[in-house]
Symmetry: C2
Subunit: 286 residues, 2 copies
């Protein structure tokens, strides 16, 4: 496995292979790789000839009071995992190489970015859209894989690729969960043992919403209220949002449609958890 | 010469050629082609194997009170010119194809975009940066040519390509002028015969500034005052700005450096004219 740090060397590697019609896949990560990343890497490995995993903790997607400096880093373990999974290149650009002096371009998707995660984290999605544009420019992949856990991010990347004609096929792979159902996340290491047990309540809440929809509840507000109830039963949790949304636009739905996404974000002490479930409503037989 | 309207067909054409290592050049235009465009096309023709000229009057770079609807259009003449100059593809996407329902991405370069043209035309450069990103995505050129007349635009595109790692070589070709010195522009057709004669005053003003610098005037404000004086002598003209700037950042200079750009924008009745001159200061011998 090759480790590439320079963006120029990364592009040269890719361009050389593209000319030989090699299909390049990219899994963009911020490192601290876990089973969710492994699943993405394995899914990517099956779909491309040459596989790049980028590891870059992107400062521009963190807010000023967020956890940039203490974000978990485990580069040797990450590299070992990549190597075991047959990754061809670990691309590890420096902050300086990504954002040299004079850098100023931002990419914005206001309709998607202002909602949900964007409401609490106002510059987050501009940071994500910009760094994804840059990584696509540097790596020139034909396909890129993202985890469903960051559902809003995956919607944003789909729209970005369409809007800027980036020519990358975006594949979203379903969330990998702990045995109790908690969505895997690099930030789960922040949880105290007690909070780790409580954390699964978010998933339970989304499950309750999905169950209600499958049982015929079609009013968005009612589904939301049911999800809310589950969270309220655990006093340590504070709700940021719980929503029933159109999975393509992320607009909240007053009435359930055949395909919806349930989005949730809660706080548990200093830790913020997000999760989501896609629900397909079975057609009513008459 | 091929006429391509669909962005998908454009990308397919380019991708096919790129695999054969054909070097693709792009000259992005808004049509109403004049001698300035012809010079760009000829310069491009010498530097690439396959040449695309895009013709797209981009609505997002016009302000609400600007001339979008009356912007000059001459598609048959434009195509004839392209054909004569050996262009391979006239790429003529529709507004609908460029900005389909749900489109929302904007690309911004705030430090460059807020100055000069951006001060009077607040969304102009965001429109330019976004459409250039899209055209580069659709056409996938190795090189793209822009005219020096829109100097600030060329600085913006250079920075955009660098910041988003677009992998396109940007070439700027010097301004083509009428016999009296007026910079060629599609908007010159708006000028009345009397104003056409007065219009050259902008160029004369920039020339006076360049002359002053070459004669040793090193104070930015003094150079600016000299340019201003030339414009003031023609009462029909109103100054939007006249500036002595760093040609890479467009920051105004209080003291002249070895390489400066003189930027000017004036109004003449309903018509707005811009122009610029690059000045290289000869080293003083001691």
């Amino acid at each position: 496995m090759k480790i590439i740090r320079s963006p120029g060397a990364m592009t040269a590697w890719s361009e050389g292979l593209r000319r030989e019609r090699v299909r390049i896949g990219l899994v963009p990560t911020m490192g601290a790789l876990h089973e969710g990343h492994r699943a993405l890497i394995r899914a990517a490995r099956l779909r491309c000839d040459a596989l790049v995993v980028s590891i870059f903790v992107n400062p521009t997607q963190f807010g000023p009071r967020e956890d940039l400096t203490k974000y978990p880093r485990s580069i040797s373990r990450d590299r070992a995992l990549c190597k075991r999974e047959g990754v061809d290149v670990c691309f590890e650009p420096s902050v300086q190489a990504m954002y040299p002096k004079g850098f100023q371009t931002t990419v914005n998707l206001p309709a998607i970015a202002r909602r949900w995660e964007g409401e609490v984290r106002s510059h987050h999605f501009s940071g994500v859209a910009t760094v994804v544009s840059k990584l696509f420019g540097m790596v020139r992949p034909q396909i890129a894989l993202f985890g469903q856990k960051d559902f809003q991010q995956s919607v944003l990347v789909h729209q970005l690729v369409k809007d800027l004609n980036l020519g990358v096929t975006v594949i979203v792979r379903s969330t990998v969960r702990e045995r109790d159902g908690l969505a895997m996340s690099s930030r789960n290491v922040y949880l105290t043992p007690d909070d780790r047990i409580r954390a699964v309540t978010l998933y339970r809440s989304l499950r309750a919403g999905a169950e209600a929809i499958r049982n015929g509840v079609s009013d968005g507000k009612s589904v939301q209220a049911m999800m809310r109830q589950v969270i309220k039963a655990e006093p340590a949790l504070t709700i940021d949002y719980l929503a029933v949304c159109n999975p393509y636009t992320l607009e909240p739905l007053s009435t359930v449609t055949p395909r919806v996404v349930l989005l949730g974000a809660v706080r548990l002490g200093p830790v913020r958890l997000i999760d989501n479930l896609l629900v397909t409503v079975p057609r009513q037989r008459s």
